[in-house]
């Protein structure tokens, strides 16, 4: 067992865990943060994407041990109390989700992407979404949502 101390969404947590514990399971099982979804567990679907020291990471391809001493932001960090993040608001308005399984990872990726590319083209959004599988929407409303959120964030 090893000791892990992480700051998740601004709150410090300390746990003693098995070295093989994945960060995705650490967030869900140890911290009860169920917003991070676990899809494929081999880095393909993107549902479990979180920010690790401000950069996107597949939490299923990261050991909790590797996150020791670092800051993590999950989808729970996006909304400000009852106020949705502009990305979440845009997904709500543009039907950017149906079952919602893939959504947390896409929101995290999109939040980082829009930080880096405040005025992206549709092609750039689609290329970025290649790292996420959605089996409901056919992606078109997700692309619309991200472009709408980009416009809202620029205002």
């Amino acid at each position: 067992m090893i000791d892990v101390a992480v700051t998740v969404n601004g709150t410090r947590h300390e746990r003693r865990v098995e070295p093989r514990l994945l960060l995705s399971d650490f967030l869900r099982h140890e911290l009860s943060l169920y917003g991070t979804h676990v899809g494929c567990e081999h880095g393909v679907c993107g549902a479990c994407t979180v920010l690790l020291d401000g950069r996107p990471a597949r939490s299923c391809l990261t050991l909790a041990a590797q996150a020791d001493g670092r800051a993590i932001h999950t989808v729970e960090s996006l909304a400000d109390g009852g106020r949705l993040h502009p990305l979440q608001q845009a997904f709500h308005e543009h039907f950017g989700l149906q079952c919602g399984f893939c959504t947390p990872g896409i929101l995290i990726t999109a939040a980082f992407f829009l930080e880096q590319h405040p005025d992206p083209t549709e092609a750039e959004v689609r290329a970025e979404l290649a790292g996420h599988l959605c089996r409901c929407t056919g992606y078109a409303p997700i692309v619309d949502s991200i472009l709408a959120a980009a416009a809202a964030l620029r205002r």
């Binding site: 090893i2 098995e18 070295p19 093989r20 994945l22 399971d25 567990e41 081999h42 880095g43 993107g46 994407t49 690790l52 950069r55 996107p56 990471a57 597949r58 299923c60 391809l61 990261t62 050991l63 041990a65 590797q66 020791d68 990726t109 980082f112 992407f113 689609r126 290329a127 970025e128 290649a130 790292g131």
Partner: protein, 239 residues
Amino acid sequence: MKPAPFEYFRPGSLDEALALLAEREDAKPLAGGQSLVPMLNFRLARPSALVDLGAIEELRGIRIEGGTLVVGAMTPQWELEHSPHAFPLLREALGFVGHTATRCRGTVGGSLVHADPTAELPVCALALGAELVTSRRTLPAERFFLSVFTTALEPGELLVEVHFPAPPGPSAFVEHAHRHGDFAVVCVARAGDRIALGGVAATPVLWDGGELEPVGDLFAPADYKREIARALIERARAA
């Protein structure tokens, strides 16, 4: 889909890491984990111990030394992609490596050492004539990649840094994949007159200007790959 148990070590120096690996025969070094952790999750890899190289500062960094780009093995791919020191060839190629989230975690050295025959960075290393500096010796890219997922590294030997010489002329990186971010069907790196291909053999290969004899796979038969490679080489040479 959970790893089998292992011991975990997080050394702070290269010497400590080498000592840990020397003491444990089946210990595996862990770089960014973007290939190793899936294999752990599938239990295709079951090492008794992992030696996490993530806390070794001396293995990270990007600098220019007399026109040569020197990249520490543990430098994240995303950092090289966004470094003002990186050659356009490397920046273009890195755009094809997985996705933003895997490039933020995945390392330059990890990709080279993993030696996937379709991976972009080994092809760039070969085209540029890179030198790979290990904990024991310096190897040219031509002698580093031996086969599928197999390099000249010996047990207990770690890649320390990579020296990428500047391209001697025009450069280009072109790739065909089924979807953006997927493993390449074929990819081509050009550095001056040197053209290297990925996805056509067990290792990246230098093109000798002759007819190509690619190895086909489940999703792309040899004839198809030959046509793709021919078109990509033409595109790279037009750059």
